[in-house]
């Protein structure tokens, strides 16, 4: 009964996040990364111990990060090295999910709210236009009102489909990662 599309994106495969939705805009994304819980250890311990929070494979990965500004390395090539995944994939997945949700939410909410605001404003301050009869007794205003109700069905269907495509696979990945013991013990419950 649940979303069949999940099966197309096996969460264990490293490739499924490739068609990531474009970040909504650059600034909030960077800003949110800046406040990431891992940022503290990341920024302070760059040269010697970039992943001070107990990541196992630091010897293998430690050298390439040397001397590279941490934010740029992170922001431009988040998934270049497979070893980085364990350390940062959680944060990156969460950031992806956050921005995917943000896009979905903004587009859908602003469309629904915006169309209605335009409708009310036109009804109130352009009664001549809305009162113009388009077919028999049916005025433009009435037709638009009923049309909004009919479009609602399509909008809900569209929302469900886009959410299954853009949000659900990312959410599944974040869930799978947090199941690992120890990481988010404080969050659970």
């Amino acid at each position: 009964m649940t979303h069949p599309h999940d099966n197309r994106y096996p969460p264990a495969s490293p490739d499924w996040t490739q068609p990531r939705p474009a970040p909504h805009d650059g600034a909030p994304r960077r800003e949110s990364y800046g406040r990431d819980p891992w940022q503290g250890s990341y920024g302070q311990g760059v040269p010697q111990d970039p992943y001070g929070q107990g990541v196992p494979q630091d010897t293998a990965y430690g050298s390439p990060a040397q001397g590279v500004p941490p934010y740029d390395a992170y922001g431009q090539a988040p998934r270049r090295s497979p070893h980085a995944r364990d350390a940062h994939a959680h944060g990156a997945d969460l950031a992806d999910l956050r921005s995917a949700y943000k896009v979905l939410r903004r587009v859908s909410t602003l469309t629904a709210l915006g169309s209605f605001v335009v409708y009310v404003v036109l009804s109130c301050w352009a009664p001549g236009l809305m009162g113009s009869q388009i077919a028999g007794e049916l005025s433009l205003g009435m037709a638009l009102g009923v049309l909004q109700l009919l479009v609602t069905f399509a909008a809900v269907f569209w929302y469900g489909r886009s959410a299954r495509h853009s949000v659900d696979p990312l959410a599944l990945a974040v869930r799978e990662r947090t199941v690992r013991p120890g990481r988010d013990a404080g969050v659970a419950g």
Binding site: V120, S123, Q148, L149, V156, R175
Partner: protein, 538 residues
């Protein structure tokens, strides 16, 4: 109005008793175990998305929506159409913006969502106060309406004693549903109600169209004639007027409805009982589909009432046209005494009755849950209450809330309290909506901001409403003879919604300055719980 023979009354009475017996039975059978909180508040999250969607729609379409919206359409035409659209779109907004994070953040009540990152009892108390402030007016307006409605349906004399008895009857039934049934029991009642409601309203709408040979133009022409207003029926302005300030008032009312109607606590509470995020999405899809279908039929029914009954008869029975659905069903039947008239009238009357019962029961349950869970278990006992105690308290708070609502409704039964619906929606839009959106989407939100948004929004809506034109100064006001209306609008949203959002923002800024450590801690907690909020990762 009582010219409909004792045969119809008898059928209606039998139908009412059957409905009551059936729903009570279901409530008892579906009732929760005595010491399982999850079962009482969410029904084990065991409802399928389809059923949960029907229950959400059932909670959302209150008796006030069914009766007042039809009445406004019948009397004011276009203004009512806009109201039907905004009612449907409000639930759409809830689905798009809040439903999924709300499901992940909450467990039982609104207080759980708001207090998840903020310790302290003040948050719990504030969310309980706002829940009560939003649900009690809604309860009172429907209960006091139930008095006049039932006397109308049953053809009793319209005196105070009969109405008081009806209010007490509906009130006691609602207490029983809420206290015994819990979330699962009321969900069943809501499902029966919505199936009934959709069935009858689609039938009535089809009969209206059939009467006019399925020609919308003919219905509209007849409605223009029947309303006695001519072309104005199909233009904005009949409800509140056409001057600049009255148009602003109308726009403000519609914005309040679209922002506030769906985030009232008794509706958001149903979201917590969804199993997971895809389930809540599918539930909301069903709910939105149901509500939108219903709003389409309401448009047809209201227009049909204007066309077939005529506004002078509608206003003669009720100034707000709340009896127009019932009068329409009489007009649609073949004539007094025939079988078709009896069946149709009984079906519509039964629908109205079960709608009333279920919506007041849902609101009682929301208010009682908040009292038991937020105020008793978390504010008084600091989260240490045993589940069994909390369940008992929840049952008793249902009785308490119900009794208070019955008493208030009896007190105001002779006044025209339709304004209370507006008040509840205004509080939803100016206190609940800011608190929820900030709490879910703004990591910089702090406790002072939350309290400011909740109390500030509620207080501004309350104060402005008391001094608005809807309470005094106009012939249709609650106190038409008094004159303390310095707020020149009928609804407060235009001022109180921005005020609620501003209060929340300013309060948080204040905390960032004064209590930097605490606000950093809030931010850290928000970020830590973000995986849970967005992905339901536990």
């Amino acid at each position: 109005m009582n010219d409909y023979g004792s045969g119809t009354q008898a059928v209606v009475l039998v139908l009412f008793s059957t409905l009551v017996t059936l729903t009570l039975l279901m409530c008892v059978m579906a009732g929760p175990d005595r010491d399982d909180l999850t079962n009482f508040y969410t029904g084990y999250r065991s409802l399928t998305p389809f059923r949960n969607g029907l229950a959400i729609a059932g909670d959302y379409i209150s008796a006030a929506t069914v009766l007042s919206t039809t009445g406004i359409i019948a009397l004011a035409g276009y203004d009512g159409y806009v109201l039907a659209v905004s009612t449907a779109l409000s639930l759409v907004l809830l689905m798009f913006l809040l439903a999924e994070p709300l499901r992940n953040a909450g467990s039982f009540t609104m207080g759980d969502v708001l207090a998840r990152n903020m310790s302290g009892r003040s948050v719990r108390i504030a969310s309980c106060v706002v829940t009560l402030a939003a649900t009690l007016p809604f309860l009172v307006v429907q209960l006091s309406g139930a008095g006049s409605l039932l006397t109308f349906i049953l053809g009793m004399s319209h005196e105070s004693g009969a109405r008081t008895a009806c209010i007490a009857l509906v009130g006691s039934l609602m207490i029983i549903y809420a206290a015994i049934g819990g979330m699962r029991g009321t969900a069943l009642v809501q499902m029966i109600k919505i199936v009934f409601l959709l069935g009858t309203s689609v039938t009535v709408a089809a009969l209206v169209l059939n009467r006019f040979d399925w020609s919308p133009g003919a219905v509209l022409r007849a409605a223009e004639r029947g309303s006695g207003t001519g072309p104005a029926f199909l233009q904005q302005g009949l409800q509140l007027g056409t001057s600049a300030s009255q148009r602003l008032d109308f726009a403000s009312l519609q914005m309040t409805v679209i922002l506030g109607a769906a985030c009232l606590p008794h509706i958001t509470m149903r979201l917590y009982s969804a199993r997971d995020v895809p389930a809540v999405r599918r539930s909301m899809s069903w709910a939105v589909g149901t509500v939108t279908t219903f709003c389409l039929t309401v448009i047809i029914m209201g227009t049909g009432a204007a066309a077939l009954v005529g506004s002078q008869y509608i206003t003669a029975a009720d100034a707000h046209g709340r009896t127009s659905v019932l009068m329409l069903s009489r007009a649609l039947g073949g004539g007094a005494g025939t079988v078709s008239t009896t069946v149709l009238y009984a079906a519509v009357a039964g629908t109205v009755f079960i709608t009333l019962l279920s919506s007041v029961a849902g609101m009682t349950l929301a208010a009682a849950s908040s009292l038991a869970h937020d105020l008793f278990a978390h504010a008084l006992r600091r989260g240490q209450a045993a589940p069994r105690t909390e369940m008992t308290v929840a049952a008793w708070t249902s009785v308490m809330v119900g009794t208070v609502a019955i008493l208030l409704s009896v007190l105001v039964r002779d006044w025209d309290v339709a304004v209370l619906t507006t008040l509840a929606i205004c509080i939803g839009a100016s206190a609940v909506a800011p608190a929820l959106t900030y709490s879910l989407f703004w990591r910089g939100f702090t406790r002072t901001g939350l309290l400011a948004a909740l109390y500030g929004g509620t207080a501004s809506a309350l104060v402005l409403m008391v001094f608005s034109k809807a309470v005094s100064g106009t012939p249709s006001a609650v106190f038409p003879d008094a004159d303390f209306d310095w707020f020149p609008l009928q609804s407060t949203g235009l001022v109180s919604i921005p005020f609620g959002y501003l209060a929340g923002w300013l309060g948080s800024r204040l905390d960032h300055r004064r209590r930097a450590a605490e606000s950093r801690e809030n931010r850290r907690l928000y970020e830590e719980s973000e995986a849970r909020l967005l992905a339901a990762a536990e």
